[in-house]
Symmetry: C2
């Protein structure tokens, strides 16, 4: 007999397949309309996998909020996934990343000009779907996307800035990564007919889960994980100030801090072991892990306001997936 | 006493000021909300002038269609201007253009990464405004923007392709330049409450006007015009196959065609006079001018279906502006 968790994991897998199919259908439809290469290139990255955590969460938040007509919320869930992929395409240009989800990035494949446009095309598709909703929800989506851009500016300003504080970091993460989790859950609640105050609970859930998600990303970048589909240490190479680095820089002093600064500013592959040793000396990876747990617990606590249901159980499974990243 | 044309030009100038003020207010509002540098950079280019032909046309199309509450259509007009500016920002990255509207481009000012994001931010602002309308209108905007991307791909595929036909050219222009004129006029008509069939007349008006607009752009690039805010011959340097070049390549043969091909493929400043001589030998500039007149006449003919009004007179003034580019 299968355990409950296995049953919910299997149900999640079915939902993921539904999302994947809907995204494939969208690309096929655009290709049939004559969109050609831009749709094929965008579709190549869009359909290269990914955990689909965002759309799954939004479909579940809608159900948790009492929604019963999935068609009503699916365009919203797809809109966020399309916009998310658009930002990845543009990020990959700016980071000159060659691989994403284990396949060549668009700009590696077609050059920069077409990659910029393919990202725009994905944005347009996302907004075309998101624009079907009420003015209130359109404003939520637009505000969320504007915040992504604002936070990306802040992140660029903090590249290799060794004075970046945990507060700077959290502000960037809230805007860039966690904001879309929060906005999608909030909007899904509204689509299901929740009152503002209850929908705000879903927003907080998404924000806490999104922060934890980014912290796990930071840790995976340092520890390495094939499933990331990009090389270990990419963040360090790009000069991104992730929380473990910020924490270690804050706690280290004297020769250790000086060496850590050198490693970060002139990072190369052979420095990896030394960097990890310094991060472990300040317990910075453990610290990040504790924060992951804290934010996940806060996320789970927000769900307590909603009655038990399969949707709630599946959302808890997703918080576990974020913790374990075994998806 | 002022002539009628002067009265309408002056009324247009007032409308342009209203549009400019609304765009400035939008940027100020975002800055007040904490958007910072991304809004300031985007605003720097957005508010550097420009004729605002698109938003003016859409406000007028709404009035022509019987609309009387300008607030009802203003967000639509601004949405198209914001999206237009977003595509300019991204185009300038891809063309490595240093100047736009007489000031440094965003990527010249801040580097590529921030310029990509500033363009995204402008898209988001545009869609945030456009998303306030009915699903039908949102679909019109999204379809129009997707077509811009598709046509930009085709344009890139035709760079320095000397076999580009007039049909290829028109298809690209319809998608990239004229499509937004058409979509905006059409949507403005729907906002005013027009029936589908009448709104389609406005769509055709916008399409014809937009084609003429691009043809004038092609001519100005060759003849030079300070008001373009970019150097003469930029299209030729970028390998863009504009209609005069396509026409000349089609009509020339033997040594003339060979020399023309060489000039286009390895263009440099000192070749300008020779290029113009070859274009004049095949009457290619005259040909483009005849096409401008043809498309403008077709645009004007579409307006005949609507009763005379100040709005109609001002739209006719705009078709003259496109012809003369004395705005």
């Amino acid at each position: 007999m299968r355990s409950d968790v296995e049953v919910f994991q299997s149900a999640l897998e079915s939902m993921r397949e539904e999302v994947n199919q809907a995204l494939k259908d969208l690309i096929d439809h655009e290709v049939a309309l004559g969109a050609g290469e831009v749709a094929l290139e965008a579709g190549r990255v869009l359909n290269a996998g990914g955990k689909r955590l965002r759309p799954l969460l939004f479909l579940l938040a809608y159900r948790l909020a009492g929604g019963t007509q999935q068609d009503e919320v699916m365009p919203l869930a797809l809109a966020f996934e399309l916009i998310h992929t658009a930002t990845l395409v543009h990020d990959d240009i700016n980071d000159d990343a060659r691989q994403r989800r284990g396949i060549p990035t668009i700009h590696a494949q077609t050059g920069q000009a077409k990659a910029v446009i393919a990202g725009d095309w994905l944005f347009v598709q996302g907004f075309g779907l998101g624009g079907r909703y009420s003015e209130q929800i359109v404003t939520v989506i637009a505000r969320c996307c504007a915040n992504i851009a604002v936070s990306e500016y802040h992140q660029l300003d903090h590249v290799l800035n060794l004075a970046t504080s945990p507060e700077d970091y959290l502000s960037i993460v809230r805007g860039k990564t966690a904001g879309p989790f929060a906005a999608g859950c909030y909007a899904a609640g509204l689509v299901a007919g929740l009152e503002e105050e209850q929908a705000k609970g879903l927003e907080r859930f998404g924000m806490e889960l999104g922060i934890a998600f980014q912290l796990v990303d930071d840790l995976l970048d340092l520890r390495g994980d094939e499933r990331m589909g990009k090389p270990r240490g990419a963040d360090v190479y790009e000069g991104k100030m992730t929380l473990p680095l910020i924490h270690a820089l804050t706690l280290s002093h004297g020769a250790n801090r000086e060496r850590l600064s050198q490693l970060i500013e002139h990072f190369s592959d052979e420095d990896f072991d030394e960097l990890m040793t310094l991060l472990e000396r300040s317990d910075s990876l453990d610290y990040a892990e504790i924060l992951v747990r804290t934010h996940l617990e806060r996320a789970q606590a927000e769900l307590a306001a909603f009655p038990d249901s399969d949707a709630k159980s599946m959302m808890l499974v997703i918080t576990d997936i974020v913790k374990e990243r075994h998806a």
